[in-house]
């Protein structure tokens, strides 16, 4: 090994490929969430801002989004999707849903449920004009046993949205539409049917978006800093202790005023949050818990974060509580979905 004896200053191989071959070394983006950031300047995000006051009538339209549990998926860009054809999409999708439901089933006696599909656009849910408007898909059932009663019950809702998704949409070719976040409320079987139709029609791919404890701690810090008017619930963090014979969950609830006071002492620049501030906030909470119970919460897994603004579970389930912060929360979720796609 003659060459090895030349001394430590050997020419380094200049391949463009990272040497570890694991997800961490691959991407080079500045995002704070993906573990693949490689020593960029300290990641920071803008604080979730309350929506402007003139969106009062929009809150009416989006009120149905609040206080429901939404399951999160990330969606790759849709090919040849156009907003002008929403009605055609509803017809095609309802035909598909009807066909899937009837597949392999004997015809039921006594009132078969007709499923009506509607695909509409929600123009308010976007961050800037560059974003695509949100698309809402709803399955509603109307029992044919009482045809006079035309009351429809929504049995399944799903909506695509994109808030501040510039990172993905600016590099896309023309024929693609960028709607990276998909939220679902309803039965899993319907989700599978609608998802299959979208995947076949627009050549996209749906993947469950799970929230890592790292992301959840960001959400806890960000949402604690938001001002809420009504007397709001406490900030609650749920931890799961690994590797025990019986599963153990620890729930840590903090009075909202105290949590906000703590965050106010930590946050330096109003409107911006850095990784250090989030770490300090969580470390304060953990050390307080340790002082009382002698349990290191940092060794457990943060599973659920529940604040007055929204609550998020690590399986990718979210619940919005305040309509004024809806866009802000969606912006964060869009960022996470884009991370997962890339």
């Amino acid at each position: 090994m003659e060459s090895a004896a030349d001394g430590p200053a050997q020419p380094r191989p200049s391949t463009g490929r990272p040497s570890w071959g694991l997800p961490f070394g691959r991407a080079r983006r500045r995002s704070a969430l993906s573990p693949s950031s490689r020593l960029p300047p300290a990641p920071r995000r803008t604080q979730v801002k309350a929506g402007a006051a003139e969106v009062a009538e929009d809150t009416q339209r989006t009120a149905f989004l609040l206080r429901k549990q939404w399951t999160l998926y990330s969606v790759t860009p849709l090919y040849r999707f156009s907003e002008a054809h929403l009605r055609d999409y509803s017809r095609l999708l309802s035909a598909f849903v009807a066909a899937e439901k009837k597949k392999g089933l004997a015809v039921e006696i006594g009132g078969e449920l007709d499923i009506k599909v509607s695909v509409t656009s929600l123009p308010d849910l976007k961050g800037s004009d560059r974003d695509q408007a949100a698309i809402l898909v709803q399955l509603s059932s109307r029992s044919s046993a009482s045809p006079k009663n035309s009351e429809e019950k929504v049995i399944w809702s799903g909506w695509f949205c994109c808030v501040a998704g510039d990172e993905l949409s600016e590099n896309l070719p023309e024929a693609f539409t960028c709607l990276p976040l998909f939220l679902v409320n309803g039965a899993e079987s319907n989700t599978a049917i609608v998802g299959t139709w979208f995947q076949k029609t627009f050549d996209c791919c749906f993947r469950r978006l799970s929230l890592s404890p790292f992301n959840l701690s960001w959400m806890a810090a960000m949402w604690t800093g938001c001002k809420v008017d009504k007397p709001a619930s406490a900030t609650e963090l749920v931890f799961s202790v690994p590797r025990l014979p019986h599963p153990l969950h620890i729930s840590y609830a903090i009075n909202l005023e105290d949590a906000q006071a703590l965050w106010a002492t930590i946050q330096k620049t109003p409107g911006e949050i850095t990784q250090e501030e989030v770490d300090v906030f969580m470390d304060c909470l953990y050390s307080h818990f340790y002082r009382h119970f002698k349990i290191h919460l940092s060794a457990t897994k943060l599973v659920k974060v529940s604040t007055a603004v929204a609550s998020a579970h690590c399986d990718g389930i979210i619940k919005f509580r305040q309509s004024q912060y809806l866009t802000g929360v969606l912006m964060l979720l869009t960022e996470l979905a884009i991370c997962q796609i890339q």
Partner: protein, 176 residues
């Protein structure tokens, strides 16, 4: 003597000592077993510790340590803090290639609790390579054991012409 020094004791003939430091009990044990099962032509002793400093009572019985591997579990934020606190008890001369950071649990990225930037910064600040592995799977555990064994062989001086200082090449980032 609370601080670990690399050359404070006499080395044994044809043997090398590896110290695994980390708060993760199970996988440390399994990794140690995997290292010991590898075919090698020198004796390997693996010492396991949850944190530094090592208890001083048995200090006279301990051999010279050739390489320290600090294990960080990405699912466990406490393990990073543990490692950061333990680093204070390592002499500066160890950081000339005889220390390496091993990040485990990378198979489960969805359970990541640790900020990867902090880990990279740790590697940069202490001039030591950061390796990634997954100890739950047999295959990668064996591969990691082989890699660590090779590094140990070099640190203990059993590969002629190659010294531990060359491990700085493992820290190169191939940034595009």
């Amino acid at each position: 003597m609370a601080v670990l020094r690399p050359f404070s004791k006499l080395p044994e003939l044809n043997s090398a000592v590896l110290l695994l430091v980390g708060s993760e009990g199970d996988f440390q044990q399994k990794l140690a077993e995997a290292i010991l099962q590898e075919k090698k032509d020198f004796t390997v002793n693996v010492h396991i510790a949850t944190s530094l400093p090592l208890p001083s009572e048995r200090d006279h019985l301990r051999p010279q340590i050739d390489m320290i591997v600090f294990m960080i579990d990405i699912k466990n934020k406490y393990s990073l803090k543990n490692v950061e606190d333990s680093l204070a008890y390592v002499d500066a001369k160890f950081f000339l290639g005889k220390v390496c950071f091993l990040v485990t649990g990378v198979g489960r990225v969805n359970c990541c609790s640790v900020d990867m930037n902090a880990v990279w910064k740790l590697g940069e600040n202490y001039c030591s390579p950061v390796l990634f592995c997954e100890l739950e799977l047999e295959g990668t555990r064996v591969a990691t054991a082989q890699r660590l064994l090779r590094m140990l062989q070099i640190c203990a001086g059993y590969v002629p012409g190659v010294s531990a200082l060359y491990f700085s090449t493992l820290m190169t980032t191939f940034s595009s």
